[in-house]
């Protein structure tokens, strides 16, 4: 008996690596710590009522952001481990197997469990406020999206300690990812982790499209909508059309692995190229999905801190929509070297380059928003200004890659690695940082410390250039990606050394940011104005943090930067803060179904990964049961009384008569 338990455990848990034992111990310790703190302070009920079952978009947004910062840490630790292994030739720090797992989890976690939720977090907190809405169109669905993402992310991360991580790269190309070469559960963790959270992303896409198109404050026509909301709309359009492709692709891979199918296997007539074709049909739109909202963020910040109207609003909108459609037309640039022929390569090379045009238009419009403005450099603006040259260079190397015959030399080299980190970090990560610094007061009710923030900015940027500029050089030296080791004879040592130093500096920058948050929490200066940056859009017209019903009174929108205009009118005495008639507000009730249902999904995934039908089948029945229960529940909303609105507003320092 004991023997079989031991045998099971040695297969079930990942063993043999001190790093992993370390992780095991720290995971168990932090679990115990969390549980005992919650129990000691009797916070379980509070946690359940206020957070786990919440359907409030702002709280959901905060949970997304929290989770994604955690994932940034995990992905960043992976990055530092890789850089440590690569710091010099013939390092013995990580074995080949382990290194392969680490770059795979790094890529997956960074893109799907860090960038996506960070983006969704900002969508959630900000979009309804910008639109002057009470909530997103479907608060229940929103909560379900979050919990699905969360279960997927947890499932994926579990592979680190149970069963073993996937190691086939972040896009899991077959045939290597097929059963024949990859029999362990790692690849199934990959499939189910992404699949479950992907369904959540799809629902978020639908939810925000409906919200933006149909739930705006009266008077806010589409062409008066803030640019961030536009960027969210274009990103969600791409989500809705791209994510089903991912769902299918992963499902097909799973059918191969689980049911013995032959879609992408070597034998049975399978065709691995089809997987590559399909995954990039999702993969390319995906990278624009995460960068478009960042474009929206820059647009908001640039206008606010230049104290000037956004330049070329219509052009910006148009450019964004074009980008989201064009992003579906370029996928083959990821496999120019697969031999599809000159016709295919020429076509996809040209469509790829075309994207540079609308992207360039956006850059110019930001520049000319600053032109003849009055620029101040608070942290959000500092990030934005730093990003522009950085992203432009990354975009330029993208265009170089899109020159198909030249890509035969760049492909899968560190030149490519440098390109995508530059567009992703300078575009997406820094963009979301800028957004976080900008909206932080709105989300949490206090500003982050500017001085420490500036330190973080410089460290991140210097670290970035040091880390990734040498990688372009390495690419031109012929260094290919996904190498766990290289020889002294290659001449790659110096650049790798510099690159690793850069990575460490970025790690330090991350720690400085955490410190920034801790420091600002301790010396909290509450934002009493609700509008600390003297900004332009509706979210700044209400107290920080926003009351749970957002707007005590529905705003009437008349112009593009409505809040800015209203402030001007009040200043000039043209508009007095008017008397308002408060009405009871209709609100959705909290629900425990999303979290429970996502837990069942987790069991489905886990059961299928280990081929434990006794777990997967009940899990699936649980999922169905949750849907049915929810369908029969007609009691899902309530009204907030006028009294309570008055009390809440007064507590936020606003008197409503």
């Amino acid at each position: 008996m004991w023997e079989s338990v031991k045998e099971f455990a040695s297969e079930f848990f990942v063993t043999g690596d001190p790093l992993i034992y370390g992780a095991d111990v720290s995971i168990v310790l932090s679990m115990i710590a969390i549980v005992s703190v919650l129990t000691y302070f009797k916070k379980w009920g509070w946690l359940w009522r206020e957070w786990l079952t919440t359907v409030d978009h702002k709280k959901i947004g905060i949970m997304y952001i929290l989770a994604s910062v955690l994932m940034l840490f995990r992905g960043g630790v992976d990055a530092l481990l890789m850089r440590a292994q690569l710091v010099m030739p013939e390092m013995q720090f990580l074995s080949g197997d382990h290194y392969n797992q680490i770059f795979t989890t790094h890529g997956v976690i960074m893109i799907l469990f860090m960038a996506m939720p960070l983006m969704f977090g900002l969508f959630n907190v900000i979009v309804p406020l910008q639109l002057g809405a009470r909530d997103v169109a479907f608060p229940f669905l929103n909560s379900l999206s979050f919990w699905l993402f969360f279960s997927g992310a947890m499932l994926f991360n579990l592979s680190f300690v149970i069963g073993g991580s996937p190691d086939a790269g972040w896009l899991a190309y077959p045939p290597y990812s097929e059963l024949a070469f990859n029999p362990g559960p790692g690849q199934d963790f990959y499939i189910w982790g992404i699949q479950i959270s992907g369904i959540g992303s799809l629902m978020t896409g639908i939810n925000f499209i409906v919200t933006i198109l149909k739930v705006r404050a009266p008077g806010m026509t589409l062409m008066k909508m803030p640019m961030f909301s536009w960027s969210v709309l274009s990103s969600c359009i791409a989500i809705v059309f791209a994510f089903p492709i991912l769902t299918v692709t992963l499902a097909l891979l799973f059918i191969d692995r689980y049911l013995g199918g032959h879609f992408f296997t070597l034998d049975g007539g399978g065709n691995p190229m089809m997987y590559i074709n399909l995954i990039w049909m999702w993969g390319h739109p995906e990278v624009y999905i995460i960068v478009l909202p960042a474009f929206g963020i820059f647009s908001e910040i640039v206008a606010t801190f230049s104290r000037k109207k956004l330049f070329g609003y219509k052009s910006m909108v148009f450019a964004m929509i074009i980008i989201s459609v064009l992003s579906f037309l370029v996928w083959a640039h990821h496999f120019f070297t697969m031999g599809s022929g000159a016709d295919v390569n020429a076509f996809f090379a040209v469509t790829t380059m075309l994207i540079a045009i609308p992207t360039g238009v956006k850059v110019f419009n930001w520049l000319f928003t600053m032109f003849r403005g009055k620029i101040t450099f608070e942290t959000p603006m500092l990030w934005t200004v730093g990003i522009i040259p950085n992203f432009v260079i990354g975009g330029m190397t993208g265009v170089l890659l899109s020159v198909a015959p030249a890509d035969f030399q760049y492909h899968n080299s560190y030149f490519l690695v440098a390109h995508f980190h530059q567009v992703i970090i300078a575009g997406v990560v820094f963009g979301f940082f800028a957004g976080l610094y900008y909206w932080w007061p709105k989300i949490f009710g206090f500003k982050l410390n500017e001085r420490i923030g500036r330190w973080a900015f410089w460290l991140w940027n210097i670290g970035f250039y040091l880390c990734f500029m040498p990688q372009y050089a390495l690419g031109l030296m012929g260094m290919t990606r996904r190498l766990y080791s290289y020889g002294w004879d290659k001449g790659w040592f110096e650049m790798n050394l510099v690159s690793t130093i850069g990575a460490v500096i970025m790690g330090a920058a991350f720690l400085v940011q955490i410190w920034d948050i801790a420091h600002s929490l301790k010396h909290m200066k509450k934002d009493t104005t609700g509008d600390p940056w003297d900004a332009r859009t509706l979210e700044w017209s209400i107290p920080s943090p926003a009351p749970f019903y957002n707007f005590a009174v529905m705003p009437q929108v008349t112009s593009q930067d409505d809040w800015h205009e209203r402030k001007l009118r009040i200043e000039q005495g043209l508009e007095k803060p008017e008397k308002v008639e408060l009405e009871p507000i209709h609100m959705p009730k909290n629900s425990g179904i999303p979290i429970v249902m996502s837990m069942f999904w987790f069991f489905v995934g886990f059961g299928l990964i280990f081929d434990w039908l006794w777990m997967a089948v009940p899990g699936f029945i649980g999922v169905i049961a949750c849907m049915v229960v929810h369908s029969f529940n007609y009691d899902t909303d309530y009204y907030v009384t006028v009294e309570e609105i008055k009390r809440t507003e007064a507590a936020a320092g606003r008197v409503i008569t």
């Binding site: 691995p272 030249a406 035969f408 031109l476």
Partner: protein
């Protein structure tokens, strides 16, 4: 004052990076130091496209610094401030127009080169191409010389100035066959035989590698591509024929097992081994070893 520091730091940083890029031993940049016609043209194309993009990128960078510098908020500044200026058709036309022009140029160049450098197009040369069949195995490269009847592992030799017709397949997960100094890569996929023409104009030992991840010891898949004189090549072939063991079918099976390998030479290989490897997976795949018409040779520009 804040901004001036910004700009100074930034420009300092850029100089620093430039310094790095230019001083780090220049002969390491093998992609930019090609030794064959394909690599040569790819390098030209890389440089040309870089220059074309720089036409827009450099002004954008300069403009960014200038605007940020000039319009920063400070006491008594003279620069204009127009808070409501938000549209200018003229400007919009400029920045839609210029990128369109540049992209059109790059696009035209790209399309021309794409057809011209199509990897399966034979190279123009008086000399008859030599065929080398490449098989990607789990964590080693097998080279077969159908004309010479010899085979090697992780080492390939061929005469200079002679077009080499690489036929590339895989008996393992998909890889990518790449000799940076001779020219770009091509995927090595099972069930297919990809054609890649390369040629070395100079004698020398060039690094070759697998560029697409295939698992545990993927990092050990480097090989040497040695371009020698025709005499040296013939002599080498003879020597391999006379001194090396034969590659048997069982020997091949042994090679396909997962593991790394040192350089090895074989005086012979089983008849039709390469074709067998390809067709093994291509039972239904519509592009195995069909004898398709060869595309016309490429002509010099």
């Amino acid at each position: 004052m804040k901004t001036s520091k910004t700009v100074r730091c930034m420009s300092f940083l850029f100089m620093f990076i430039l310094l790095f890029l230019t001083t780090g031993c220049a002969d390491n940049y093998i992609v930019l130091d090609p030794k064959g016609p394909i690599g040569e043209q790819q390098k030209d194309l890389m440089i040309l496209s870089t220059l074309l993009t720089l036409i827009v990128i450099v002004p954008v960078l300069i403009l960014t610094f200038v605007i940020v510098w000039r319009y920063r908020d400070r006491e008594g500044r003279k620069a204009k401030y127009t808070p409501n200026w938000e549209h200018s058709t003229k400007l919009e036309i400029i920045w839609w127009g210029i990128p369109i022009i540049i992209i059109t140029l790059i696009g035209i160049v790209t399309v021309r080169y794409t057809y011209f450098l199509e990897p399966s197009k034979p190279l123009e040369s008086e000399k008859k191409p030599i065929t080398i069949q490449v098989t990607n195995l789990d964590w080693k490269w097998l080279f077969q010389y159908p004309e010479q009847g010899i085979a090697t592992v992780n080492y390939v030799q061929f005469p200079e100035d002679v077009p080499v017709r690489f036929e590339v397949t895989s008996d393992a997960p998909m890889n990518s066959f790449w000799i940076p100094q001779l020219g770009g890569q091509i995927y090595a996929m099972s069930g297919m035989s990809m054609t890649l023409y390369l040629q070395a104009d100079e004698q020398g030992e060039y690094m070759g590698s697998g560029a697409n991840f295939t698992g545990k010891e993927f990092a050990k898949m480097f090989f040497t591509a040695n371009a020698t004189s025709q005499e040296d090549f013939d002599q080498w072939v003879n020597q391999v024929k006379n001194t090396s063991p034969e590659l048997t079918l069982d020997g091949y099976k042994e090679l396909t097992k997962q593991g790394t390998s040192d350089v090895r030479h074989f005086s012979a290989f089983p008849e039709g081994l390469y074709e067998m490897t390809v067709t093994k997976y291509a039972a239904s795949h519509n592009h195995g070893l069909s004898t398709r018409v060869q595309p016309p040779a490429r002509v010099k520009e």
